[in-house]
């Protein structure tokens, strides 16, 4: 009996001393296996009395159970240690750069165009396009700029032949839209924006580009007013540049609108107090607009006694320059990746 207890104590000690799962298993086999000293000791049971045998059996079971239990406990302990060691060995530097998919970008002019489209589509506008190689008739005549009109000087033009040119503005798309309606069932209400490329015979520098992008807007119905134009432009400015920005309309002149206005936006840099960015005025010119000139309506098949509407023309580079604080228009056309990369997150 004492032998059993001694073996039991010895076993528990061995198990406790095991440093890894193999040593533990070896100890388990040597104390609980067929060749274990406990099994050997149990052979003595044959010579014992019934009572002694029962007692011996009970103790040997207790010893075996306590060894088995100890083995389980030690196993869990060693496994936990092993996992800890494994985790320890698997440490990484999470500050290293990510394995990112290549990040592309949309061009800022596309981003601004998308912004405008989203805003106006939400108000039920359609998007119309027109040709960049345009006729003199659409670009000038239908826009109330007959040959010899002094305002043609405002728009130095790339002519292709006497009747064909690179369009100088997106306004001719107005005429395309109206004449399309006339050709397809007659005058109907119109609510449209027309983004696109335009061209003028300007030398390229920090503020001029022979190619630039505009977005025309045209709304025609029987009761459209200048107040509607003002409300629409104010909404545009607040959505595009923030709720704090204000607009100001200044009388101006475009042959295709009457009355015509230049629209200024309060300077975002100084909040309207006046700074170098707004040349001290607190205002920055952003677009031209007005009520569609009755002559334009008439030439495009809309009776000016019945129909009236507003039109506006936004320079997309101008909007992008103000929105992103870009000061050189050439940046848009150089396509330097160090410039383009900055627009990766924008849509």
């Amino acid at each position: 009996m004492d032998e059993l207890k001694r073996i039991g104590e010895e076993a528990l000690k061995k198990i406790q001393e095991a440093t890894d799962l193999k040593e533990l298993n070896d100890a388990r086999v040597s104390y609980l296996g067929k060749k274990s000293p406990i099994q050997a000791a149990m052979k003595q049971m044959r010579d014992m009395s019934k009572e002694e045998r029962a007692n011996f059996g009970k103790i040997s079971n207790e010893v075996k159970q306590s060894i088995a239990k100890k083995v389980e406990a030690k196993k869990a302990e060693l496994e936990a240690l092993a996992l800890e060691a494994k985790i320890e060995s698997e440490d990484i530097d999470i500050s290293l750069p990510a394995r990112r998919l290549p990040a592309g970008s949309l061009h800022p002019i596309t981003i601004v165009k998308n912004d405008l489209e989203n805003l106006f589509l939400g108000m039920g506008y359609e998007v119309a396009e027109g040709p960049e190689v345009e006729t003199d008739h659409y670009n000038f005549e239908l826009m109330n700029l007959p040959k010899g009109h002094p305002a043609r000087d405002m728009q130095d033009t790339f002519y292709i032949d006497e009747n064909t040119l690179m369009r100088t503005h997106t306004s001719p798309v107005q005429a395309h839209v109206m004449l399309d309606k006339i050709a397809n069932g007659g005058a109907q209400p119109i609510k449209v924006i027309c983004p696109g490329k335009t061209y003028r015979r300007d030398d390229d520098d920090a503020t001029h580009s022979h190619q630039f992008a505009q977005c025309e807007g045209l709304v025609v119905d029987k009761n459209i007013t200048m107040a509607d134009l003002k409300g629409t432009l104010e909404l545009f400015v607040k959505k595009m540049f923030g709720e704090k920005r204000e607009i100001r309309l200044r009388p101006s002149y475009f042959p295709f609108t009457e009355p015509s206005v230049e629209v200024d936006i309060s300077c975002g840099n100084c909040g309207g107090k006046g700074c170098s960015m707004c040349k001290g005025t607190g205002w920055i010119e952003i677009l031209g607009a007005g009520m569609v000139n009755p002559h334009v309506l008439e030439m495009c098949g809309y009776d000016p006694q019945v129909w009236q509407g507003f039109a506006f023309g936004i320079g997309l580079e101008r909007v992008a320059m103000l929105k992103y604080d870009i000061d050189n228009i050439r940046d848009f056309y150089n396509d330097d990746l160090r410039f383009l990369n900055q627009f990766s997150g924008e849509e």
Binding site: G104, P150, A227, D228
Partner: protein, 796 residues
């Protein structure tokens, strides 16, 4: 145009207005004041008296002057001007005075104390072009009665303020100060004062006027005798300086001043130089003539000519001839005030490069023809007052009948266009402020438009007058009230937007390049415009931007070159833009160009160079997204002698026989010409691609029976396109659902000129579990087929 504040004050009272605030108000009614500045700059300028002037002991040109700068206060000033002398009254800039050239401070000049500067006119006025030689040569000597110590600029009459106004083309009438005065008067609710013009007892002259062209609606000539030429009075010179015009002498100055005041260009002829006292206005001359600037000019038959003595008297509205010009000895003058066709004049002035002040007035339409006779009287009166004219003759002129326009409007029209609720009284008030006369019944207006307002012809024009004088700030803000509309992009627009977004998401950068390119490169990579005629500009700015492009790739290669030169080595870009050829051909192109690496994560040792298959992947992804199955298009190699694309590494994308795009490596020789290295590109004809029928997604049920895989390695000719083999295999057995290439090999163990292609096959029957027999049968069919079509054998 430059507008003098003091001159404006002659016609409407503004001297109680702060000039800068006035400029802002003028801007708000539609005449943008783009800049404003004082005529002469300088805050501490006084009239001084040179009491003593001695040579500087340490200089060969400096003088040391004792100058009285205020009664009883004498200070020492060193002066370098050759004409400084004791006893002169001069302009003194005291220490602290800021001139356009810099700030004056007290100091020592070559050891002598100097407390200021004695000034020339050139030091006060910045625009040196307006100055006479004597203004620049030395200090300005004042009249002896100039009071010592008074502010010098106001003493000189140079205390003026100039506004630089950017007039809109419809309001060129405001080039006349009287017309601008009406604007300011309406703004400030004031009256306009016209200068008084004295009438003379006029005799009949023998001048004859004969107009033989429609391009001259009015011509008036007035003879004035006995003038003498000398310097103009200071007030006249100062007004001209403030208007940006160089004073010359009293005669020239008067003609310029009358133009500034009335907008009507004046030309003067020397009466005594004309043999026949007759003017004929006509076109049709084809000659050469020396004009009054001494230069010879070529005259074309289309030019309007004022002909005298059967020759050229004047190129109408542009410049007079040398032979008839007035000079210092002229005593008898014929004054011309006429109206000429602006468009014709523009062509002439541009051709001769003579866009003079006068011609600009005609070109821009600043002329108020109805006022012409008055202008001639004003001119004659000034010649009497300022040039001692002795006799004034009656004006000889063509008939002048100009009825003022009457434009109708109503309260309802005005409010209907503006979205306002102005009363009849408020509208009438605007017309009164503008000095328009009108009749009204309380709703409708009949407004008589002054002849100088040539911009007003319809009710919308009158509505603008109401809006701009009340101010657009007072307009309500509303949104259009219309029937509901859908507000969606067209199919084409939505697809183009998707393409941009997809390519950006795939890691490409969208670029924006110029539509105009050089004639030299316009046919490079041109695939979709065939031999169609190039769209060519009539007068390009330069050879680089002379024609409209037919392909986007030249610009993308140029963009790559630009980036390589700026140390951006991995350039993966795309552009979507229109290209054009004559006959109204507009094609929407999409181009992709990639060079360098696509993936680059150095610390993970992961780097992927761009190649053909990358770009092909971009294109196929787009086709997938557009709902165009890869069964519908094929790739075929470009021609062996293609000069744009690498013949071994480039192919056309075809739908049937039609080429809708190309993918490949830029031909190495072409790449070299563009200064780039290995570049892989694609260009698609989006107009064609977006017109293709797109298939809606069709769902197939997930199969319930297991699939069986088999691998197959075939040896074929190295030139056989793998896709052709796959297409054939897929057609060979019904139960074959997919075939994928997993290895391609050329080299050892494969016969020269052959390649091995390893293909993984997937078999499946939707109705039952496949048995070995049907698979063997299918494999057999596949092998038969590829053997027949490609002479393919199983790799041993």
């Amino acid at each position: 145009m430059l507008a003098s504040y003091k001159l404006l004050n002659q016609y409407v009272k503004v001297d109680d207005q702060n000039p800068e605030e006035l400029a802002e108000k003028i801007t708000r009614i539609g005449h943008e004041v783009e800049g404003h500045h004082p005529l002469a700059l300088g805050t501490k300028l006084v009239v001084g008296y040179v009491k003593e002037c001695i040579d500087h002991p340490d200089s060969d040109h400096l003088h040391i002057c004792q100058v009285e700068v205020a009664p009883g206060e004498v200070t020492q000033i060193v002066c370098g001007a050759p004409n400084v002398a004791a006893g002169e009254k001069v302009i003194v800039a005291l220490p602290g005075c800021e001139l356009h050239a810099g700030k004056i401070s007290a100091g020592k000049i070559r050891g002598a104390e100097s407390n200021g500067m004695i000034c020339s006119i050139a030091e006060l006025i910045e625009d040196q072009r307006l100055l006479r030689e004597e203004d620049k040569a030395g200090i300005h000597v004042l009249d002896q009665d100039a009071p010592v110590g008074v502010e010098a600029l106001s003493y000189l009459g140079l205390d003026d303020f100039i506004m630089d106004i950017g007039l809109t083309p419809n309001r060129s009438d405001c080039m006349a100060m009287t017309s601008l005065a009406h604007e300011v008067a309406a703004l400030l609710k004031r009256d306009v004062t016209y200068p008084e013009v004295k009438k003379y007892d006029e005799k009949e002259s023998e001048i004859q006027v004969n107009v033989e062209t429609d391009l001259c609606p009015f011509f008036g000539a007035k003879l004035v005798k006995g003038v003498s030429t000398h310097e103009s009075p200071a007030w006249l010179r100062n007004f001209l300086l403030a208007s940006g015009i160089k004073p010359i002498n009293n005669i020239v100055d008067i003609s310029n001043f009358v133009m500034v005041e009335t907008g009507q260009p004046i030309h003067m002829y020397d009466y005594d130089k004309l043999t026949k006292k007759a003017f004929t206005i006509k076109t049709g001359f084809d000659t050469e003539e020396t004009m009054l600037d001494g230069e010879k000019y070529k005259i074309e038959p289309s030019d309007i000519i004022v002909s005298t003595d059967d020759g050229i008297g004047c190129i109408a509205g542009v410049m007079g001839a040398e032979s008839t010009k007035i000079d210092d000895t002229t005593t008898n003058i014929i004054i011309e005030a006429a109206t000429f066709d602006g468009a014709t004049l523009r062509a002439t002035a541009r051709r001769l490069n003579l866009l003079t002040d006068a011609s600009q007035h005609y070109i821009k339409g600043a002329i108020d023809t109805a006022n012409s006779l008055h202008v001639l009287d004003r001119c004659a009166d000034l010649l009497v007052q300022l040039a001692d004219a002795k006799e004034v003759y009656k004006t000889v002129h063509t008939p002048l009948h100009i009825e003022p326009k009457v434009v109708e409007t109503s309260v309802a029209r005005t409010n209907g266009l503006l979205g306002t609720s102005f009363t009849a009284q408020e509208i009438a008030d605007v017309f009164e402020r503008l000095h328009f006369s009108y009749e009204s019944d309380g709703e409708n207006f009949k407004v008589t438009i002054p002849t100088y307002r040539n911009d007003i012809s319809m009710d919308a024009d009158l509505t603008e007058e109401v809006a701009r004088l009340y101010g657009y700030d007072n307009l309500p803000n509303t949104l259009p009230f219309m029937s509901m509309t859908e507000g969606i992009l067209s199919d084409k627009q939505a697809k183009e937007k998707m393409i941009r977004k997809t390519l950006a998401d795939l890691g490409l950068h969208e670029v924006l390049t110029y539509t105009l390119t050089s004639a030299e490169t316009v046919n490079d990579f041109n695939l979709f415009h065939d031999n169609d005629e190039t769209v060519t500009l009539m007068s390009p700015l330069n050879e680089e931007r002379a024609v409209v492009r037919k392909s986007l790739l030249p610009a993308l290669l140029t963009t790559i070159k630009y980036n390589l030169d700026h140390s951006n080595k991995d350039v993966n870009i795309f552009e979507l833009a229109n290209t054009y050829s004559r006959q109204d051909k507009e094609i929407s192109n999409l181009a992709i160009a990639c060079t360098g690496r696509y993936v680059d994560i150095p610390w993970l040792n992961e780097s992927k160079q761009v190649d053909f298959y990358l770009v092909k992947g971009f294109v196929e992804t787009l086709f997938d997204k557009l709902g165009i199955s890869n069964k519908r298009y094929t790739f075929t190699k470009v021609e062996r002698d293609n000069k744009d694309f690498h013949p071994g590494r480039s192919g056309y994308i075809r739908f049937g026989k039609k080429i809708v795009g190309v993918i490949g490596e830029v031909h190495p020789a072409k790449a070299k010409a563009y200064g780039v290295d290995e570049v892989y590109v694609a260009e698609l004809n989006l107009t064609e691609v977006l017109n293709l029928r797109t298939s809606a997604l069709k769902f197939t049920a997930i199969p319930t029976y297991p699939e069986v895989s088999r691998d197959l390695a075939l040896v074929v000719d190295a030139t056989t396109p793998a896709q052709d083999i796959l297409t054939t295999i897929l057609k060979s057995a019904k139960i074959l659902v997919d075939a994928k290439i997993f290895d391609v090999y050329e080299g050892e163990h494969v016969e020269e000129g052959k390649k091995s292609i390893a293909i993984s096959l997937r078999f499946q029957d939707p109705t039952k579990t496949l048995d070995e027999e049907s698979i063997t049968k299918a494999m057999h069919a596949i092998l038969e087929r590829v053997k027949k079509e490609f002479n393919a054998v199983i790799r041993q």
